[in-house]
Amino acid sequence: MEAALGEDRLFLYGAEFRSRLLAGTAQYPSPAILSRAIKAAKAEIVTVSLRRESGGSRTGERFFTLIRELGARVLPNTAGCRTVREAVTTAQMARELFDTSWIKLEVIGEEDTLQPDVFGLVEAASILVRDGFQVFPYTTEDLVAAEKLLGAGCEVLMPWGSPIGCGRGLNNPYALKSLRAHFPDVPLIIDAGIGAPSHVAAAMEMGFDAVLLNTAIAKAGDPVGMAGAFALAVEAGRAGYRAELMQARDMAAPSTPVIGRAFSERARA
């Protein structure tokens, strides 16, 4: 089967995208490098947040102007929220500020790992879906939590690769493969923990629909160069998945034909 990337599209809540790399916008050395990196990553969706600002400083407005100039679709997050109430209120504020019903829902349950509180996540997702939001829940690889998030009305799931910002890649490939196999028709986006292009290629080869990363690009020595590397890795991994990987085996199997080998017993006979 030919892997025709030109016909390969990502659908999220009915919206169509060519790129399968969602990019965060934080921690870049400068706004100019952020802008160039997003373009090099070929990202069509970028994540943003809401934070406090002193009156009159207009930093947030300048940032939002830059994001709008990129032409990417905005996915606001509820980063840092520890309770359902905080997450729901932040989502409502984000909807008005960014004029979108999309929300990357984070309800953090543990400080050291920033692990999602999946119980609060399901509760918050239920409230937000009823309120008209299209929720992108940042979750773990837990199958039952995934079931409940889908039951709450989420149409996309974003399981973590590993803890936010750690760069360890896919900590639990077995569980992630199980998740992929269990929900073959649900868009699954690996979110968080990506450190290298090879991590992204591995996720895409497993059949995940997209990846969301931030720190691995922003904190690279050359963020723009790394963004390009990640874009290539996403395309390579996706093309590999679509072309169907061979089955791994435990023992060697010669690739060069055995029949006709010189000096073999059969040849001597």
């Binding site: 965060g24 916008t25 934080a26 921690q27 870049y28 952020l34 994540t47 943003v48 947040s49 809401l50 934070r51 406090r52 600002e53 009156g55 009159g56 207009r58 930093t59 947030g60 407005e61 940032f63 939002f64 994001i67 606001p76 997050n77 980063a79 109430r85 905080e86 209120t89 932040t90 409502q92 504020m93 984000a94 008005e96 500020l97 960014f98 936010i164 910002g165 931030n214 720190t215």
Partner: protein, 65 residues
């Protein structure tokens, strides 16, 4: 009147959320608001009264992951 604004206690004169935004020079900015952890829509700010001790959040777009 003392109001908590973005975590800081301020003495303000405004009687409404819209008045507070004017007083603190947020009026023309891209901001979203909440009072005591409840979202307040832009169109509702002028009819949202403030009282002593209220906690107001005024948020703007920011970089995020």
């Amino acid at each position: 009147m003392h109001i908590h604004v973005n975590g800081k206690v301020l003495e303000v004169e405004a009687a409404t959320l819209a008045g507070l935004l004017r007083e603190l020079d947020y009026e023309d900015g891209a901001v979203a608001t909440a009072v005591n952890q409840s979202f307040v829509r832009k169109i509702d700010r002028d009819k949202t009264p403030l009282k002593e001790g209220d906690a107001v959040e005024i948020l703007t777009p920011r970089q995020g992951g």
